[in-house]
């Protein structure tokens, strides 16, 4: 199969428009931990030059709004309707509608058939331009271009890396509770372009993206037993990861993409193993009679956090990637499971069950600073966006209706994820480009 042409991002600062200074530092600053209490109003004008310009603007606006940190203004209130990306706007007019930030852009169909999108972010009250970029790619890639624009705006104004140019792999659910059908699926993080990768004739669970390749790992369960697969997204080819006599489950890639950690059960006892994907050499890294599962690598690949009930109830433990130095890191009351190390290494997200309630929470890798971000009948299975600021998870009601939800790490923004149908087991991709 051919692949799409790679997006070529020519990141080029625009020459100043006759202004005396180079692009100034933004006077707009969004505090990611507090900004959701007063989202920044932002005017996003329809990008000119092509009908796809308005679509791009819509995707950008939806991304920024979904973060909880921005409030895109109603275009019907805009004081200027035709905005040229190469001209300075009339700042006083935009001040009058209370728009501190203004995003303007244009779409150009280049001679070689590629699409180029130029945009500028204006700081209305300072009267200057914090950001001006252009992106070029094949025309079919207008959505990734829009997500990269949203990422650039988010990053400039918050100081944090964006997370909009990503996909999510998950399980799409259907059918009655006693005979639930589960299909492997992927989508853009804004819900667009859903793609169903298996047909539901066998159950699938807990998929993960490879950090380095267009590949997914997941567990498949049939009456004949469980298998872990590698699924190549581009070719559709599936490969079984080894053969084991008992249950296998909970597969995840190492940060360098060269290994998969997983659980395997033998004679009723579940331990954690790590397999090298090239040599297929498999190392057993726990050998306790306890349940040891849900491993997650630290971003440097040197440690694993995992779930074990070796102390009598499910708790979180950290160890070296070779299994050495196991030590407990969860200390609160309740049962701790599904640990996931954040991409920046600073936090571990987890599911906590206490009484009749479930929570998504975070703690530092040494176990300190535990904060619970959500509460419901059944929240579980957090996954980190690549900027370590947003978590997606499953929320299931009494009666068994499971949906995808997101929460930001400040706990202020909890909302359904943009996929409108029943689903579970989400896992976030790295930034795509």
């Amino acid at each position: 199969m051919n692949s799409w042409a790679v997006i070529c991002a020519f990141i080029a600062a625009f020459a100043g428009l006759g202004m005396a200074t180079a692009p100034a530092r933004a006077s707009i600053v969004i505090n990611v931990d507090q900004g959701a209490s007063q989202p920044l109003p932002i005017a996003i004008a329809n990008f000119s030059g092509s009908p796809v310009g308005a679509q791009i603007s819509q995707v950008v606006a939806a991304d920024l709004e979904r973060s909880g940190l921005f409030r895109p203004l109603d275009p019907n209130t805009f004081p200027e309707s035709t905005l040229d990306v190469n001209l300075q706007p009339h700042f006083d007019l935009w001040k009058s509608i209370g728009a501190p930030a203004l995003l303007v852009g244009q779409v150009v169909n280049e001679a070689d058939g590629r699409l180029r999108v130029d945009f500028r972010l204006w700081d209305v009250y300072a009267g200057d331009q914090p950001l001006g970029l252009k992106f070029t790619s094949a025309p079919e890639n207008w959505r990734p271009i829009a997500h990269k624009i949203a990422d650039a705006v988010y990053e400039k104004l918050t100081g944090e890396k964006g997370y909009f140019d990503t996909r999510v792999v998950f399980v799409a659910e259907s059918g009655p509770k006693l005979k639930r059908i589960r299909r492997l699926a992927t989508m853009d993080q804004d819900g667009a372009n859903p793609s169903y990768l298996t047909d539901g004739s066998y159950m699938v669970f807990t998929p993960r993206f490879s950090p380095t390749r267009q590949e997914i790992t997941f567990m498949a369960l049939r009456p004949t037993g469980a298998s872990i697969y590698l699924f190549n997204i581009e070719t559709g080819r599936q490969e079984i990861l080894g053969h084991f006599p008992g249950m296998v489950f909970a597969p995840r890639f190492s940060p360098d993409g060269h290994k998969v950690a997983f659980s395997a059960e033998k004679g009723g006892n579940t331990d954690i193993y790590v397999m090298d994907l090239v040599s297929h050499a498999t190392a057993r890294v726990t050998s306790d009679p306890a349940i040891d599962t849900s491993p997650s690598f630290a971003p440097d690949g040197g440690q694993l956090v995992f779930n074990s009930d070796r102390g009598g109830s499910p708790q979180l433990y950290v160890m070296g990637a070779d299994g050495s130095g196991v030590h407990r890191v969860s200390f609160g009351s309740g049962r701790y499971t599904t640990p996931v190390w954040s991409p920046d290494g600073k936090l571990i997200a987890f599911t906590k069950q206490e009484g009749d309630e479930f929570h998504i929470g975070v703690m530092r890798p040494d176990g300190s600073g535990e904060r619970l971000l959500t509460t419901s009948y059944l929240d579980e299975g957090p996954t980190w966006a690549p900027n370590s600021r947003v978590i997606m998870f499953s929320r299931e009601t009494r009666g068994g209706d499971s949906r995808l939800w997101t929460v930001d790490v400040s706990g202020q923004v909890i909302r359904p994820a943009p996929y409108p149908l029943p689903a579970s087991d989400p896992a976030w991709s790295p930034l795509l480009h």
Partner: protein, 187 residues
């Protein structure tokens, strides 16, 4: 990171029950029909399993005589139950398993699969492990009662195959079970 984006597979246009998605991308071929969620009447091809009335014509009704799967279920019992977060065998479980062992000794060609199940008040992966413990607990007990290990396979369904859709304590208790299923050799 430069990662090649998406396939140039000729796109199968995906009509979704949810919002329409404008534009572009091509993706791996859609496998199966578009999803329609749980559906109150099980629409979209995800119908309920056929009732016994709908067994296709020409099939024999299930055998019920000695040595049949039905005989096993009625006269030995195919379900045992566990306490919350436990894989220990209660007295009531041992009674049923003794009957299973007796039955399996009487019909030595029969093979079984022990399915370990959990209630929904736990997370997915931990419950696969707990279900495996339950299935193995039962297997070990039957082996101890003289059934050859080669006749018994195990699997865990975690919390994924409840037998009671409710969420009250009685339903949860029913879903914490080990289910013995005949896989071959029955009359």
């Amino acid at each position: 990171m430069n990662v090649s984006m998406r396939n140039t597979v000729k796109l199968v246009v995906v009509v979704l029950a949810a919002a329409a998605f404008a534009g572009c991308a091509s993706h791996p071929k859609l496998a199966g029909p578009a999803p329609t969620g749980y559906g109150p009447h099980h629409e979209g091809g995800y119908g309920p399993p056929p009732s016994s009335d709908e067994v296709s014509q020409g099939e024999e009704p299930a055998a019920t005589g000695p040595g049949s799967a039905r005989d096993f279920v009625i006269n030995a019992g195919d379900l045992v139950y566990f306490d919350f977060d436990s894989y220990g065998l209660r007295d009531d479980a041992r009674q049923v398993l003794d009957a299973q062992a007796g039955w399996l000794r009487r019909y030595p060609q029969v093979r079984v699969r022990i399915e370990g199940n959990c209630d929904e008040r736990g997370t997915r992966e931990y419950n696969f492990a707990l279900g495996a413990r339950r299935a193995d607990s039962i297997r070990q007990y039957l082996v101890g009662r003289g059934i050859e290990g080669a006749r018994i396979e195990t699997i865990s369904y975690g919390k994924e195959r409840p037998i009671d859709p409710g969420d009250d304590d009685a339903a949860l208790a029913k879903n914490r079970n080990g289910h013995t299923v005949i896989t071959g050799g029955a009359r």
